[in-house]
Symmetry: C2
DNA sequence: AGCCTCCAGATTGGATCCAATATTGAATAT
DNA sequence: ATATTCAATATTGGATCCAATCTGGAGGCT
């Protein structure tokens, strides 16, 4: 990527830029779990001052990626296998609620948007574009959740997705997983068209369960 | 140091002081929904600089009490009656999970801690100490949730409690409500001692429903 | 040795100042 | 009159400096 493109893609504020960098550093394990976050060192590394760094850390604290103790600072929070399972269990609870509320409210326009999102998922899956597929998958699910008309619920779910973003990219790196996701989404769409909330919830539970199982296998090794 | 002791301690940083003030200002409606938050004016009013104010705003953004647009600033998010109901519905989902996981794991020590917390609730209720009762009530519930062994779930629940803190204080302002809370807590304790998760969940659902109903009546007027 | 006190260095918290961006309103052209 | 441009102002974003607090170790005491 050229420096010009890099420059264009850079977020409009330093804190948002640092936020993305920190997420990557934490989820890839470059910042080790439990270790303290030295603001001076990181600020210098990212070539910003400590002010935007601290605001980014405050956001990460809200997401649970770091812990905070007054006058002692921020510490990288472990995202262990147990944590991953816990996040998915919480998602199961919240997303079931969202889907059950959304299904009876789905309009033709909503379904059309979901199908467009699914088209993009399938295109990216076929092309093997991991990042694009992760983004399209996110659009698909969140589009559905938005239809529940519960903005705070959706906010929480979105935050939970954010905390496990890097793991999902790992999942999509495998071609078999990509195919599975495509077919699972198609089944979900069928249930949604039929306004069958029970089936949609069950399919989405299985959808998540597969992801957890696959990621568990990877993280164990 | 236990997290619950941390819960009661007043953190000695300006940002957390401002955080509490902002929460009150927003939930009491002094800062009107949708209106922009002028950092200079508020910082001067609270007698701090804009730095801790901005970090507090970042926390509130994570909780959904304010929205944020880069280079345009923060705006007060409405916490309407619908929002309040939504928060309580989400709490219902998450707290049921926490209780069901916690009940079979409760030790004699856990029950003793719950009883101590309840003693403090009753003392504060009898003395009419609203703030103290809100704090003790919080300790009671979070002590129970902590026993679930799901730290991320507890974090989410804690955040949901934070967003409606000011409303709970209103609730405890009424003597009848205080008495009701005391007796409801006693019933919950009985179910917990009997390791009866179904009953505990049902009682806590009713506990929340009463609070929502009472607050709805207040907020309508 | 074990424990406390206290000092120096390290680190975070906060205040002030400057830069970057958005908004407003007046002047201009159509 | 309406739309547009552009300068003036208001507001947010960020850098630097100073203050408050924590940490770790040297020294003294029982």
């Amino acid at each position: 990527m050229s420096p010009l493109e890099e420059e264009r893609r850079r977020p409009p504020t330093a804190q948002q830029f640092v936020l993305g960098e920190l997420r990557r550093a934490i989820t890839t394990g470059r910042l080790r779990p439990g270790s303290p976050i030295r603001q001076d060192a990181l600020a210098e590394e990212f070539d910003v001052s400590r002010v935007p760094l601290r605001e980014a850390l405050k956001t990460l604290h809200g997401e649970g990626l770091v812990t905070y103790q007054a006058h002692r600072g921020y510490f990288v929070e472990t995202l262990s296998l147990d944590d991953l399972r816990e996040v998915y269990r919480i998602r199961e609870l919240l997303e079931e609620e969202a889907v059950r509320r959304a299904v009876p409210r789905l309009t033709a326009g909503d379904l059309a948007r979901l199908e467009r999102a699914q088209d993009e998922v399938e295109r990216a899956a076929a092309a093997g574009e991991v990042q694009e597929m992760a983004a399209a998958n996110r659009v698909f699910h969140l589009t559905l959740f938005e239809c529940a008309g519960m903005p705070r619920l959706v906010r929480l779910i979105r935050t939970l997705w954010d905390t496990t973003d890097a793991y999902r990219s790992m999942y999509y790196g495998d071609g078999g997983n990509r195919e599975r996701v495509v077919s699972e989404h198609r089944a979900v769409l069928g249930a949604l068209r039929a306004a069958d909330a029970d089936t949609a919830v069950r399919l989405l539970d299985e959808h998540r369960a597969h992801a957890v199982a696959a990621l568990s296998a990877v993280l164990d090794g």
